[in-house]
């Protein structure tokens, strides 16, 4: 028999359009669309992509519960045996949507699901325990490599086979444990691992420690009236012309911009460098992303002492976590030297 598969993709991979079409509501197309062709080829005769469900990343991110329910209804109408979503690579909203679709399909339809993302995609941590996520590179260049892995895992699940270890299947670990028999007991294996470690030889832990990088909340602002407040954004707001050439995605830098004496971020003076959302509204009035106008007003009214003379801005769009962390450390250092008391960080 040929298994029936529904494929979920976003408006971009469907060829509908980029950010200007990110508000696209869920829709169903028969057969394969875009990356579904490669997936269908990898399935061969064993499975058929009966339909493709498409939704804009912006619509999904802003209406997650409703969008997931609408997508599940469309999927259910095709009576599939499994659902494949993506690959989403390092696109944050797309990855989150793929994960949410897989979770909703599992909960409401009880079907196996497979998606694929770059390990740093925020959708991974949100949904890794709910679905199988094949590891991909950070951009669509990795499509050719990801698709056969996704297809072979989906076929395994469709046949009712149990997938192997994440390293064997090419998936990101779900954090599940499964009982199995080993030749040597735990003490022997632990001693062997210790010896390898002491010799400087490679070894593989059987129980990786989870990394919870949490920062305890800083204390509240005690006296707002005397405070200096600084603005930081990942929304890419920059002076017109983007003088530091901050990249539209995968930003390698941030900018520091003097707003002393600036009462309003006008369309003539400011816009966004961000390539991950529709820039129409930010370019029309950058206060919609970085609220300088109202903060200036409140400063005048004495709600707080001072709006810091500089704002800091980068583009949070596929930016590697390690780089974003460095930007944060450097910005914090500058804010400390400037005597800033608290920070409003805005994100799109």
């Amino acid at each position: 028999m040929t298994y029936r598969v529904v494929h979920y993709i976003n408006q971009f991979f469907a060829g509908i359009g980029g950010e200007e079409e990110a508000g696209q509501r869920p829709l169903l197309k028969e057969g394969v669309v875009g990356p579904g062709q490669a997936l269908a080829a990898a399935f061969g005769d064993e499975a058929q992509i009966v339909a493709t469900v498409i939704c804009g990343d912006g619509y999904f991110a802003e209406n997650m519960d409703r969008a997931a329910a609408e997508v599940v209804d469309l999927i259910a109408s095709c009576r599939p045996d499994a659902v494949v979503a993506g690959p989403a690579f390092n696109a944050g909203r797309y990855g989150t949507a793929c994960g949410a679709v897989c979770q909703a399909v599992k909960e409401n339809l009880g079907l196996p699901t497979v998606t694929a993302m770059y390990p740093e995609n925020p959708g991974v941590d949100l949904y890794r325990s709910e679905t199988y996520i094949v590891e991909t590179t950070d951009s669509a260049r990795g499509l050719r490599k990801a698709v056969p892995t996704m297809a072979s895992l989906a076929l395994k699940l469709l046949r009712g086979e149990t997938p192997g270890l994440p390293s064997e299947e090419g998936t990101l670990p779900q954090g599940r444990r499964r009982n199995l028999f080993r030749d040597a007991c735990g003490a022997e294996r632990a001693a062997d691992m210790l010896v390898r470690k002491l010799r400087g030889e490679p070894f593989e832990t059987e129980y990786p420690m989870p990394v919870f990088d949490r920062v305890p909340p800083a204390g509240a602002l005690k006296n707002l009236k005397e405070a200096t407040i600084a603005l930081v954004t990942s929304g890419g707001i920059v002076p017109k012309g983007n003088p530091d050439h901050i990249e539209a995605s995968s930003a390698s830098r941030y900018g520091e911009y003097d707003i002393s004496g600036v009462d309003d971020l006008t369309a003539a003076g400011y816009g966004t460098a961000h390539g991950g959302y529709d820039p129409t509204y930010a370019d029309g009035d950058a206060d919609r992303v970085l609220p300088v106008d109202v903060l200036r007003e409140m400063e005048r009214e004495g709600r707080f002492a001072k709006l810091h003379d500089f704002f800091y801005s980068t583009v949070g769009n596929g930016t590697p976590v390690a780089l974003a962390a460095r930007f944060g450390r450097e910005i914090a250092e500058k804010l400390r030297n400037a005597g800033v008391d608290a920070v409003i960080l805005t994100s799109t």
């Binding site: 930010a282 974003a324 608290a342 805005t346 994100s347």
Partner: protein, 77 residues
């Protein structure tokens, strides 16, 4: 960025639209905003109404900065 700035000792309020991402990243004070391409605005309203909306959001952000918290908190009210 939110986390590193907070690690340096500053209270930070993360004002953004996709709350699950902010929670996963590990922001502590989170204030939900209006929409991805215009977190502090609503182009369907008049400029005056938009600014009032923006001011109300920023007030919420300042309130969050003035609030002591034990752990991650989403300021919905």
């Amino acid at each position: 960025m939110v986390k590193e700035i907070e690690r340096a000792g500053f209270p930070v309020v993360h004002m953004c639209t996709i709350i699950p991402i902010s929670q996963t990243v590990g922001a502590n004070r989170i204030v939900p905003t209006i929409a991805i391409p215009h977190p502090f605005g609503d182009p369907t309203r008049t400029p005056g109404e938009e600014k009032a909306l923006r001011r109300a959001l920023v007030e919420k952000g300042l309130k969050a900065l003035e609030t002591d918290i034990d752990g991650q908190t989403v300021f919905n009210g």
